[in-house]
Amino acid sequence: MAQQDDLDSLFKGLKALSESTFPKKCSSCGKVYHDETQFVRETDDVFGKSGLKSSFDDDDSPIVELFRNCSCGSTLMDCFSERRDYTDKGLKRRDTFQTIMELLISRGMEPAIARQELLTLMKGGQSSLIEAYGVKFKRH
Protein backbone atom coordinates (compact mmCIF):
# COMPACT_ATOMS: atom_id res chain seq x y z
CA MET A 1 0.00 0.00 0.00
CA ALA A 2 2.84 2.32 0.93
CA GLN A 3 4.51 1.51 -2.35
CA GLN A 4 1.32 2.37 -4.20
CA ASP A 5 1.12 5.69 -2.36
CA ASP A 6 4.69 6.43 -3.34
CA LEU A 7 4.04 5.71 -6.99
CA ASP A 8 0.85 7.74 -6.98
CA SER A 9 2.63 10.66 -5.38
CA LEU A 10 5.44 10.40 -7.91
CA PHE A 11 3.07 10.77 -10.83
CA LYS A 12 1.00 13.42 -9.11
CA GLY A 13 4.22 15.36 -8.70
CA LEU A 14 5.17 14.84 -12.31
CA LYS A 15 1.76 15.93 -13.49
CA ALA A 16 1.74 19.01 -11.31
CA LEU A 17 5.01 20.15 -12.69
CA SER A 18 4.23 19.30 -16.28
CA GLU A 19 1.30 21.70 -16.22
CA SER A 20 3.64 24.56 -15.49
CA THR A 21 6.69 23.66 -17.59
CA PHE A 22 5.23 22.07 -20.70
CA PRO A 23 5.12 22.63 -23.61
CA LYS A 24 8.88 22.57 -23.58
CA LYS A 25 10.89 23.71 -26.58
CA CYS A 26 14.40 22.61 -27.52
CA SER A 27 16.36 25.79 -28.14
CA SER A 28 18.70 24.00 -30.54
CA CYS A 29 16.25 22.49 -33.03
CA GLY A 30 12.94 24.03 -31.98
CA LYS A 31 11.19 20.72 -31.33
CA VAL A 32 8.28 21.11 -28.92
CA TYR A 33 7.44 18.57 -26.22
CA HIS A 34 3.85 18.96 -25.10
CA ASP A 35 3.93 16.83 -21.97
CA GLU A 36 6.23 14.73 -19.84
CA THR A 37 5.36 11.47 -21.54
CA GLN A 38 6.28 12.86 -24.94
CA PHE A 39 9.40 14.31 -23.33
CA VAL A 40 10.45 10.87 -22.10
CA ARG A 41 9.27 8.95 -25.16
CA GLU A 42 10.80 11.13 -27.86
CA THR A 43 14.14 11.91 -26.24
CA ASP A 44 17.17 9.71 -25.71
CA ASP A 45 19.08 8.50 -22.67
CA VAL A 46 22.05 10.52 -21.52
CA PHE A 47 25.10 8.27 -21.57
CA GLY A 48 22.82 5.22 -21.48
CA LYS A 49 21.34 6.11 -18.10
CA SER A 50 17.90 7.24 -17.04
CA GLY A 51 19.11 10.80 -16.55
CA LEU A 52 17.48 11.12 -13.14
CA LYS A 53 19.35 13.19 -10.59
CA SER A 54 18.37 14.17 -7.09
CA SER A 55 18.65 17.79 -6.08
CA PHE A 56 17.09 20.50 -3.96
CA ASP A 57 14.96 23.40 -5.02
CA ASP A 58 15.59 27.03 -4.02
CA ASP A 59 13.47 26.49 -0.91
CA ASP A 60 15.47 23.33 -0.05
CA SER A 61 12.61 21.05 -0.96
CA PRO A 62 13.76 17.86 -2.67
CA ILE A 63 13.32 17.63 -6.43
CA VAL A 64 14.21 15.20 -9.16
CA GLU A 65 15.99 16.52 -12.23
CA LEU A 66 15.48 14.57 -15.44
CA PHE A 67 18.13 14.98 -18.14
CA ARG A 68 17.26 13.79 -21.66
CA ASN A 69 18.89 14.25 -25.04
CA CYS A 70 16.70 15.78 -27.73
CA SER A 71 16.79 14.04 -31.11
CA CYS A 72 19.08 16.87 -32.27
CA GLY A 73 21.56 15.92 -29.55
CA SER A 74 21.01 18.86 -27.22
CA THR A 75 20.56 17.96 -23.57
CA LEU A 76 17.28 19.09 -22.04
CA MET A 77 16.38 19.04 -18.40
CA ASP A 78 13.25 19.36 -16.37
CA CYS A 79 12.58 19.26 -12.67
CA PHE A 80 9.99 17.16 -10.97
CA SER A 81 8.92 17.44 -7.40
CA GLU A 82 8.57 14.34 -5.27
CA ARG A 83 6.73 14.88 -2.06
CA ARG A 84 7.52 11.70 -0.20
CA ASP A 85 10.31 9.16 -0.41
CA TYR A 86 13.59 10.84 -1.20
CA THR A 87 15.89 8.18 0.15
CA ASP A 88 18.33 6.21 -2.03
CA LYS A 89 15.75 3.47 -2.10
CA GLY A 90 13.12 5.90 -3.32
CA LEU A 91 15.40 7.23 -6.05
CA LYS A 92 16.25 3.70 -7.14
CA ARG A 93 12.55 2.82 -7.27
CA ARG A 94 11.82 5.83 -9.45
CA ASP A 95 14.75 4.99 -11.66
CA THR A 96 13.49 1.44 -12.11
CA PHE A 97 9.95 2.58 -12.76
CA GLN A 98 11.18 5.10 -15.32
CA THR A 99 13.32 2.50 -17.06
CA ILE A 100 10.41 0.08 -17.38
CA MET A 101 8.13 2.88 -18.59
CA GLU A 102 10.62 3.80 -21.27
CA LEU A 103 11.00 0.18 -22.30
CA LEU A 104 7.25 -0.29 -22.69
CA ILE A 105 6.83 2.99 -24.58
CA SER A 106 9.74 2.14 -26.86
CA ARG A 107 7.98 -1.13 -27.67
CA GLY A 108 4.88 0.74 -28.74
CA MET A 109 2.70 0.81 -25.64
CA GLU A 110 0.70 3.98 -25.02
CA PRO A 111 2.26 5.90 -22.10
CA ALA A 112 -1.00 6.16 -20.15
CA ILE A 113 -1.66 2.43 -20.52
CA ALA A 114 1.96 1.58 -19.66
CA ARG A 115 1.73 3.60 -16.48
CA GLN A 116 -1.59 2.11 -15.44
CA GLU A 117 -0.45 -1.44 -16.14
CA LEU A 118 2.80 -0.84 -14.30
CA LEU A 119 0.96 0.54 -11.28
CA THR A 120 -1.29 -2.50 -11.30
CA LEU A 121 1.75 -4.73 -11.32
CA MET A 122 3.44 -2.82 -8.51
CA LYS A 123 0.27 -3.24 -6.43
CA GLY A 124 0.80 -6.97 -6.68
CA GLY A 125 -1.61 -7.52 -9.54
CA GLN A 126 -0.91 -9.11 -12.87
CA SER A 127 -0.56 -7.58 -16.30
CA SER A 128 -0.76 -9.91 -19.23
CA LEU A 129 -0.44 -6.83 -21.42
CA ILE A 130 2.97 -5.96 -20.04
CA GLU A 131 4.13 -9.57 -20.21
CA ALA A 132 2.99 -9.67 -23.81
CA TYR A 133 5.43 -6.85 -24.46
CA GLY A 134 8.25 -9.07 -23.29
CA VAL A 135 8.73 -7.67 -19.78
CA LYS A 136 8.91 -10.43 -17.19
CA PHE A 137 8.72 -9.93 -13.43
CA LYS A 138 9.91 -12.20 -10.68
CA ARG A 139 7.14 -13.28 -8.32
CA HIS A 140 8.06 -13.56 -4.65
Binding site: F67, N69, S74
Partner: protein, 178 residues
Protein backbone atom coordinates in the same frame (compact mmCIF):
# COMPACT_ATOMS: atom_id res chain seq x y z
CA UNK B 1 35.73 37.31 -4.98
CA UNK B 2 35.91 34.22 -7.18
CA UNK B 3 33.98 34.76 -10.41
CA UNK B 4 32.36 31.95 -12.38
CA UNK B 5 30.60 32.11 -15.74
CA UNK B 6 28.03 29.48 -16.73
CA UNK B 7 26.78 29.06 -20.30
CA UNK B 8 24.07 26.64 -21.41
CA UNK B 9 21.16 27.13 -23.79
CA UNK B 10 18.92 25.04 -21.49
CA UNK B 11 17.74 27.50 -18.86
CA UNK B 12 16.78 24.72 -16.44
CA UNK B 13 20.35 23.43 -16.46
CA UNK B 14 21.65 26.92 -15.71
CA UNK B 15 19.22 27.19 -12.81
CA UNK B 16 20.25 23.79 -11.49
CA UNK B 17 23.95 24.71 -11.63
CA UNK B 18 23.31 28.03 -9.91
CA UNK B 19 21.21 26.34 -7.21
CA UNK B 20 23.94 23.81 -6.59
CA UNK B 21 26.76 26.38 -6.45
CA UNK B 22 24.86 29.04 -4.49
CA UNK B 23 26.21 27.90 -1.13
CA UNK B 24 29.85 28.32 -2.20
CA UNK B 25 29.75 32.12 -2.07
CA UNK B 26 31.10 32.58 -5.58
CA UNK B 27 30.07 35.40 -7.90
CA UNK B 28 28.15 33.63 -10.65
CA UNK B 29 27.12 34.96 -14.07
CA UNK B 30 24.80 32.73 -16.11
CA UNK B 31 24.05 33.04 -19.83
CA UNK B 32 21.70 30.98 -21.99
CA UNK B 33 23.32 32.44 -25.11
CA UNK B 34 27.09 32.25 -25.65
CA UNK B 35 27.00 35.40 -27.79
CA UNK B 36 25.68 37.33 -24.79
CA UNK B 37 28.48 36.00 -22.61
CA UNK B 38 31.05 37.13 -25.17
CA UNK B 39 29.42 40.55 -25.47
CA UNK B 40 28.97 41.10 -21.74
CA UNK B 41 30.79 44.08 -20.27
CA UNK B 42 30.12 42.87 -16.72
CA UNK B 43 32.67 40.09 -16.88
CA UNK B 44 35.95 41.18 -15.30
CA UNK B 45 38.61 38.92 -13.79
CA UNK B 46 36.78 35.69 -14.55
CA UNK B 47 38.32 32.74 -12.73
CA UNK B 48 36.42 29.87 -14.31
CA UNK B 49 33.94 29.29 -17.13
CA UNK B 50 31.70 26.26 -17.66
CA UNK B 51 30.07 25.87 -21.05
CA UNK B 52 27.66 23.41 -22.55
CA UNK B 53 28.99 21.72 -25.68
CA UNK B 54 25.93 21.66 -27.91
CA UNK B 55 24.29 25.04 -28.31
CA UNK B 56 22.37 26.54 -31.26
CA UNK B 57 24.37 29.74 -31.55
CA UNK B 58 27.80 28.10 -31.50
CA UNK B 59 29.23 24.97 -29.97
CA UNK B 60 30.99 25.00 -26.62
CA UNK B 61 34.47 24.57 -28.08
CA UNK B 62 34.05 27.58 -30.35
CA UNK B 63 32.64 29.60 -27.47
CA UNK B 64 35.47 28.62 -25.10
CA UNK B 65 38.07 29.41 -27.77
CA UNK B 66 36.61 32.91 -28.18
CA UNK B 67 36.16 33.34 -24.45
CA UNK B 68 39.81 32.37 -23.94
CA UNK B 69 40.86 35.23 -26.21
CA UNK B 70 38.84 37.67 -24.10
CA UNK B 71 39.65 36.12 -20.71
CA UNK B 72 42.86 34.12 -21.01
CA UNK B 73 43.09 33.90 -17.22
CA UNK B 74 39.82 31.95 -16.90
CA UNK B 75 40.10 28.18 -16.64
CA UNK B 76 37.70 26.33 -18.91
CA UNK B 77 35.35 23.38 -18.29
CA UNK B 78 33.03 21.75 -20.81
CA UNK B 79 29.63 20.20 -20.05
CA UNK B 80 28.30 17.52 -22.32
CA UNK B 81 25.44 15.08 -22.48
CA UNK B 82 26.93 13.23 -25.41
CA UNK B 83 30.02 11.21 -26.16
CA UNK B 84 31.44 13.24 -28.96
CA UNK B 85 35.05 12.27 -29.59
CA UNK B 86 35.58 14.93 -32.27
CA UNK B 87 34.17 17.57 -29.96
CA UNK B 88 36.37 16.45 -27.10
CA UNK B 89 39.48 16.48 -29.30
CA UNK B 90 38.57 19.96 -30.48
CA UNK B 91 38.07 21.08 -26.91
CA UNK B 92 41.47 19.81 -25.87
CA UNK B 93 43.36 21.11 -28.88
CA UNK B 94 41.58 24.37 -29.53
CA UNK B 95 40.07 25.63 -26.33
CA UNK B 96 42.50 23.98 -23.89
CA UNK B 97 39.71 22.70 -21.69
CA UNK B 98 40.75 21.72 -18.17
CA UNK B 99 38.10 19.01 -17.76
CA UNK B 100 34.87 17.54 -19.14
CA UNK B 101 31.77 17.26 -17.01
CA UNK B 102 29.13 14.78 -18.05
CA UNK B 103 25.42 15.45 -17.66
CA UNK B 104 23.81 14.75 -15.31
CA UNK B 105 26.63 15.62 -12.99
CA UNK B 106 27.19 14.55 -9.42
CA UNK B 107 26.91 17.64 -7.21
CA UNK B 108 29.83 16.80 -4.94
CA UNK B 109 32.07 15.71 -7.81
CA UNK B 110 31.45 18.86 -9.82
CA UNK B 111 32.15 21.04 -6.77
CA UNK B 112 35.44 19.21 -6.19
CA UNK B 113 36.32 19.56 -9.88
CA UNK B 114 35.62 23.30 -9.77
CA UNK B 115 37.66 23.74 -6.59
CA UNK B 116 40.55 21.77 -8.08
CA UNK B 117 40.35 23.85 -11.26
CA UNK B 118 40.36 27.08 -9.24
CA UNK B 119 43.35 25.88 -7.19
CA UNK B 120 45.15 24.90 -10.41
CA UNK B 121 44.34 28.29 -11.90
CA UNK B 122 45.63 30.02 -8.76
CA UNK B 123 48.90 28.08 -9.10
CA UNK B 124 49.18 29.08 -12.75
CA UNK B 125 48.66 32.73 -11.88
CA UNK B 126 51.14 32.53 -8.98
CA UNK B 127 53.63 30.82 -11.28
CA UNK B 128 53.20 33.57 -13.85
CA UNK B 129 53.58 36.26 -11.18
CA UNK B 130 56.82 34.68 -9.92
CA UNK B 131 58.11 34.27 -13.47
CA UNK B 132 57.47 37.97 -14.09
CA UNK B 133 59.36 38.84 -10.90
CA UNK B 134 62.32 36.70 -11.98
CA UNK B 135 62.31 38.29 -15.45
CA UNK B 136 62.20 41.78 -13.93
CA UNK B 137 65.06 41.00 -11.54
CA UNK B 138 67.09 39.44 -14.36
CA UNK B 139 66.69 42.60 -16.42
CA UNK B 140 67.82 44.69 -13.44
CA UNK B 141 70.85 42.44 -12.83
CA UNK B 142 71.84 42.60 -16.50
CA UNK B 143 71.58 46.37 -16.41
CA UNK B 144 73.71 46.59 -13.25
CA UNK B 145 76.32 44.19 -14.67
CA UNK B 146 76.49 46.24 -17.85
CA UNK B 147 77.09 49.41 -15.85
CA UNK B 148 79.82 47.71 -13.81
CA UNK B 149 81.55 46.62 -17.03
CA UNK B 150 81.34 50.13 -18.41
CA UNK B 151 82.83 51.61 -15.24
CA UNK B 152 85.59 48.99 -15.14
CA UNK B 153 86.47 49.76 -18.77
CA UNK B 154 86.52 53.47 -18.05
CA UNK B 155 88.50 53.21 -14.78
CA UNK B 156 90.14 49.81 -14.38
CA UNK B 157 89.96 48.54 -10.82
CA UNK B 158 87.17 50.88 -9.79
CA UNK B 159 84.73 48.06 -9.25
CA UNK B 160 87.19 46.49 -6.79
CA UNK B 161 87.36 49.56 -4.56
CA UNK B 162 85.94 49.13 -1.10
CA UNK B 163 83.57 52.01 -0.50
CA UNK B 164 82.39 53.21 2.89
CA UNK B 165 78.76 54.01 3.45
CA UNK B 166 79.47 57.76 3.27
CA UNK B 167 80.99 57.42 -0.19
CA UNK B 168 84.64 57.63 0.95
CA UNK B 169 87.20 54.99 0.04
CA UNK B 170 88.04 52.49 2.70
CA UNK B 171 91.80 52.42 2.88
CA UNK B 172 91.78 50.01 5.80
CA UNK B 173 90.85 47.03 3.75
CA UNK B 174 92.87 43.81 4.06
CA UNK B 175 94.97 44.20 0.91
CA UNK B 176 96.42 47.49 2.13
CA UNK B 177 97.32 46.18 5.56
CA UNK B 178 101.09 45.74 5.97
Amino acid sequence: MTTLVLVDDEVNILKALKRMLASEGWDIYAFDDPEQALASKDLVDVDLVISDYRMPQMNGVEFLRKFKQQHPEAIRLLLSGQTDIAGMMGAINTAEVYRFIMKPWNDEEIKITIKQALAFNHLLKENERLAQTVRRQSRLLRSQLSELKRLEAESPGITQVDWNDDGSINLMCDELDP
